[in-house]
């Protein structure tokens, strides 16, 4: 970590987050949206690890919370895909713009 300036890693994770955000906003397929959300969570994780390595007072803090983020990501995928399967069973579609029952 002494090799690379912190800014470069932060810019990298910012770009990763932006790509994930773009995918979340433009994908029609709900599974595609979930995949893009995983990218965004990973970008946040990289930031946590880098700050734990460079600026943190206790080196474990960032990694512990990165583990928590990974657990939350697993929860997101499990519940999200359960919802996708239930939706597919009842509406025969997994495209987000075709599910507009509550849209006015």
């Amino acid at each position: 970590m002494t090799l690379i300036p912190v800014e470069h890693v932060l810019i990298f994770s910012l770009l990763l987050f932006a790509i994930g955000l773009y995918g979340t906003l433009t994908r029609r397929n709900i599974i595609g949206i979930l995949i893009s959300i995983e990218l965004m969570l990973n970008a946040a994780n990289i930031n946590l690890v880098v700050f734990a390595k460079t600026t943190s007072l206790s080196p474990e803090t960032g990694q512990v919370f990165a583990v928590f983020v990974i657990a939350i990501a697993a929860v997101t995928v499990a519940v999200g895909l359960a919802i996708v399967l239930a939706l597919y069973r009842s509406r025969k579609t997994i495209f987000a713009d075709e599910v507009h029952l509550l849209k006015w």
Binding site: M1, H8, I31, I46, T55, I70, L81
Partner: protein
Amino acid sequence: MEILTLAAKIGAYALMTGVLLFALGVVALRNLFHSALCLAAALIGIAGLYLFFRADFLAAVQILLYVGAVMTVIIFAIMLTEHLSGKTTIQHNRQSLPAFLGIAALVTVIAKVILQTPWPVTQKALGAHTSVEGIGTALMTVYVFPFEVISVVLIAALIGAVIIAKRENPS
């Protein structure tokens, strides 16, 4: 030693570039199965970056949980709903341009902030080595409350996922 440092530096930048390219593949590819494979590659690249940052335990967790478990579930769901995404199906909605413009503005602002902020680097943190033992101790002492909350959330999500996914009227 000089060459070794240079090689590590080049390797880290190459890893970052690769991860970004695979992330672009995740977002842009039409076939969802291909983009899931790209996601797996990007996740493995991020695990390599964790190794570069000396976060060995996190790299192992990343490979085991993300590439092992999450990718399996995602590919399972893609296979179940595969015939919906034929070659003619439009995969992106019509918000591409506004989304791109908004995100470009966001990236510009945040990048400017990142480049103007002086990031303090504490030598103590740089020299510290985080062992699995240290992480385990931190989980069980300082962060025991978030740890318990995560356990409750996991249990609730497991039960919720089973209840949502099961058939409603087994007749």
